[in-house]
Symmetry: C2
DNA sequence: TTGCATAGGGATAAATTTTTCCCCTATTGT
DNA sequence: ACAATAGGGGAAAAATTTATCCCTATGCAA
């Protein structure tokens, strides 16, 4: 595992939530798990731009942060299902707020982002 | 400027908001500017863990994304003030939602994060 | 006259995150 | 035998983000 060289700072609420949500795909993972896409392979299909590896890594982190739980069924071929914990579920309204803002300003954002990524 | 090699994806609202808020210090910059800390030097003092350089870079990006405006006063020593645009102001409730969630679960989060960063 | 404050930028290094590639388990179907 | 499916993980490379260092300029205070 990677060993951090610059210390964490956990001063305020924004630092704290940042620590658990930072990661390119974490918010989407939580979102799709909440929507009922529980198995790793489903999640990989839902998020095809992410490498399989990172999804696994980020799922592990979400689990370590107690936002999701992992259930392994002892069958072959293997079956695994993730679910939100109660704690994780409290994040859903926050994620909705993010997604809604993005949706509401979709047109404008797309233009702005594309324009500013030209130069 | 850095030239991206992996294309952006701007499919859903979460992608879009991610594009403008991703960046270690951007949320805090918006927050403090909203609180009235407008000058670069104030912001640097408010966010001492960030290097001066990155704050400038991220302020520029926020400006390019039309979330803040920059006013340069032609005086010596130089004086600059940032303000939220109307568009940027619409983000404040979203940022509050993030910060509040972190504050509400402060104890728990601090423990979880420290525990999981041990090993 | 040296030092500090103000604002900003270039070049380069370091830190961190994500991707790529390859390998392993076990069963079912061809 | 061999591929496909389902889930994982190590090692190293590539991508991306942040940090460090040094330089510009002016006016004011010790």
């Amino acid at each position: 595992m990677y060993e951090r060289k610059i210390p964490l700072n956990l001063n305020c609420g924004l630092d704290l939530i940042g620590e658990v949500l930072y990661g390119k795909w974490k918010i989407r993972l939580l979102w799709f798990i909440n929507e009922g896409h529980k198995r790793p392979s489903e999640l990989q299909r839902k998020i095809p731009d992410a490498s399989r590896r990172v999804l696994n890594i980020q799922l592990k982190e979400l689990e370590a942060h107690e936002l999701i739980t992992k259930k392994i069924y002892p069958v072959v071929p293997p079956k695994v299902e993730y679910s939100l914990t109660d704690f994780g579920r409290t994040l859903i309204p926050v994620i909705s707020a993010l997604g809604n803002w993005g949706d509401e300003h979709e047109e404008r954002l797309r233009n702005i982002i594309l324009k500013s990524s030209q130069n």
